[in-house]
Symmetry: none
Subunit: 90 residues, 2 copies
DNA sequence: GGGCATTTGTTCGTATGTATG
DNA sequence: CCATACATACGAACAAATGCC
C-alpha cells in the first residue's frame, strides 16, 4: 500500500478496536451484568475481523474480570458488586 | 511479494471437496429436487471431516440457491424450474 | 401429553497454514 | 525471526425444532 492514511489517531490494532467497543458497551451499562455479549462470530462480522482477533479482545476482557465465558453458551458480563468467588476464595 | 509459490497443486480445502461432491450429485440428478441431502453428521462420516466443514459446504450450496434448509428436518434440493421466489427476480 | 432420537442452529476451545509488517 | 491478522479445520457442549412412538 503506497498510502499512509492521514491518521492522527493511533492506528489501534484491530483487536483494540473490538476491545474498546466492548468495554464501552459494558461500562456504559448497554450490556448489563448477567447479559451475554455478542458472540465471537457476531463480533467478527460487526467489526470485520477474523475470529482470532475477536477472541483476543474477549480474552482481555476476561482477564480483566469484566466477563465470564461458558463453553457452548457464550460470554457474560460479570456483576462488579457481587464477588463471584474467583480469587478471594469466596 | 518476493515469491510466487510454485504451487501447481491446488490443495482444495476439505470443505471444497464436500461441496464438489454434493454439487455433482445434485446436478447429475442423483439427488432429485425435493429430496433430502445427507445430514451434516452423515457428511462428516462420509468425507471424514468435522461438522463445521460439512456445514460450510452446505452453506455455500444454500447461498447458491441449490438447496434449502429446514430446522430440525434437513436440507433439501430445490427445484430449479420451479421458481421458489428468492432471487432471479421474477 | 410426554419422552426420545434425529437434525439443524449456536457457541466456545484449540490448532494449523499463510500472509504481512 | 516474531507478532499480528486472517481463513480454515477439528472438537465439544448447549439449544431448539421436528417427528415418531
Amino acid at each position: 500500500m503506497p498510502e499512509s492514511p492521514p491518521d492522527p489517531h493511533r492506528p489501534r490494532a484491530p483487536y483494540m478496536r473490538v476491545l474498546d467497543a466492548l468495554t464501552v458497551d459494558i461500562e456504559a451499562g448497554r450490556i448489563q451484568p448477567g447479559e451475554r455479549i455478542p458472540s465471537e462470530s457476531e463480533l467478527c462480522e460487526r467489526h470485520g475481523v477474523a475470529r482470532e482477533t475477536a477472541r483476543r479482545a474477549v480474552r482481555v476482557l476476561r482477564e480483566r474480570g469484566l466477563v465470564e465465558t461458558e463453553w457452548g453458551r457464550g460470554t457474560f458480563v460479570r456483576d462488579p458488586s457481587a464477588d463471584q468467588g474467583r480469587e478471594s476464595g469466596i
